[in-house]
């Protein structure tokens, strides 16, 4: 199975979002799932919306948080797998 970090993922057009301070709540308008992002999740979401490639997002998080790349990649994989399972991001 292709590593999720090698896929091109974009926010679903059915995902509505609302900022609450430095956090974000996402709502899938068709299946009714909603999803809360903390500040780091919000940062990833913004980069996804800006069209950033997933490897670039990981590298940026390494720079910003000083955490090693394997740890960041593992966390981002889990995070994106959740969003993908809820159809909040889609292949694009």
């Amino acid at each position: 199975m292709t590593d999720i970090l090698l896929r091109i993922l974009t926010p679903s057009p059915d995902a509505a979002e609302s900022a609450v301070g430095d956090e974000t709540v996402l709502l899938h308008l068709v299946n009714g799932t909603y999803y809360g992002l903390d500040a780091v999740g919000t940062q990833i979401w913004r980069m996804l919306k800006d069209g950033a490639a997933l490897p670039d997002i990981c590298r940026r998080l390494v720079e910003d948080f000083g955490v090693d790349l394997p740890t960041i990649e593992s966390d981002v994989r889990a995070f994106l797998s959740d969003l993908l399972a809820q159809d909040i991001v889609i292949d694009g």
Partner: protein, 319 residues
């Protein structure tokens, strides 16, 4: 280190400013809502002849909401169990009894005021949350939670300890000049017999809530507030977890989702309305601190629960 992930769905429960919002008017037999007609006669033939198209929401208590007619229709049917249902026609602005029987006054009052009207107001753009409320130092404190979580008992407890109650079931949230305001939809206080006996000293005048619940409606309190009051804080009532009384601040995202989860909707499947509720809930979550409170369901501990809430509210007050 990364990204708290919280997933919930709107399947269970699912500030626009209205210059002239419809108000609930309490008549002698049943409440009405301004600008809407209500027909409580037994099932009308035109409605009964048309099949309900699909159930868009239901809960474990037996409530369901269905869309009547073709997709996109503005006719929704709100049903409880097998014997109470009403159709809400958004185009005609009409509520019709679609039950197989005529409703008695208590059932009509309960179903209209507690189930139908909050959803109509939500459909018209208001954020209506499932919350009781009381006033402390000229600000309202909201106690948020689904039915059965203990809102009414706690509100009655505050009522009996000298605080002004606003209501025990549904609050209209609005935004004026940057302040979140709460207004009870109507001044209700409905309790089971054991709560009545535990909270109210001596006898108190009550009436039945409806034929399908043993709850009793406390006679209107002379001082129940029906005005808009700035919101100090929102407490989401958690299920009892232990003998401990715990109060925990919710993150903004959790607060927003808790608010959406406890908001009313006439058509929970309507995407535009859901997005609008999300926006309103995020406004409230930004404007007001949310807490989760868990406590044992023991009447003897209610004074401690009240103190825990009031202590937290006091910490929010400017010095």
């Amino acid at each position: 280190m990364l990204a708290v992930r919280m997933v919930r769905t709107l399947s269970k429960h699912v500030a626009k400013q209205l210059s002239e919002r419809p108000r609930i008017v309490h008549g002698q037999d049943f409440p009405t809502i301004e600008g809407w007609s209500v027909d409580l006669s037994a099932k009308t033939p035109s409605v009964s002849a048309e099949p309900t198209s699909n159930v868009v929401w239901s809960d474990e208590r037996g409530f369901s909401i269905s869309q009547v007619g073709p997709a996109g229709s503005k006719r929704m049917q709100v049903t409880f169990g097998t014997d109470i249902s009403m159709e809400v026609d958004g185009l005609q602005r009409r509520v019709s009894n679609t039950s197989w029987r005529e409703l008695n006054s208590a059932d009509a009052h309960h179903f209209l005021a507690d189930q139908v009207y909050p959803r109509i107001l939500a459909q018209e753009g208001a954020l209506i949350v499932h919350a009781g409320s009381f006033i402390s130092r000229d600000r309202s404190v909201l106690l948020l939670g689904p039915s059965g979580r203990g809102k009414s008992t706690l509100i009655a407890s505050f009522d009996q300890s000298g605080f002004v109650s606003m209501g025990d079931d549904a609050c209209w949230i609005s935004n004026e000049d940057g302040f979140a305001l709460a207004e009870s939809l109507y001044p209700s206080l409905r309790l089971f017999q054991d709560s009545l006996a535990a909270v109210f000293a001596g006898t108190i005048q009550t009436a039945p809530v409806g034929s399908h619940t043993m709850k009793r409606r406390v006679a209107p309190r002379p001082y129940l507030e029906s005005r808009k009051v700035p919101v100090a804080a929102v407490f989401s009532i958690a299920e009892a977890r232990s003998d401990e009384i715990t109060v925990q601040r919710l993150s903004n995202a959790d607060a927003c989702m808790t608010c959406v989860e406890n908001s009313f909707a006439l058509d929970p499947s309507n995407a535009a309305q859901a997005a609008w509720r999300l926006k309103q809930a995020s406004y409230l979550a930004r404007a007001v601190p949310f807490f989760e409170i868990a406590y044992p369901r023991d009447y003897a501990r209610l004074p401690e629960v009240r103190r825990a809430i009031l202590d937290q509210v006091a910490l929010l007050e400017p010095a």
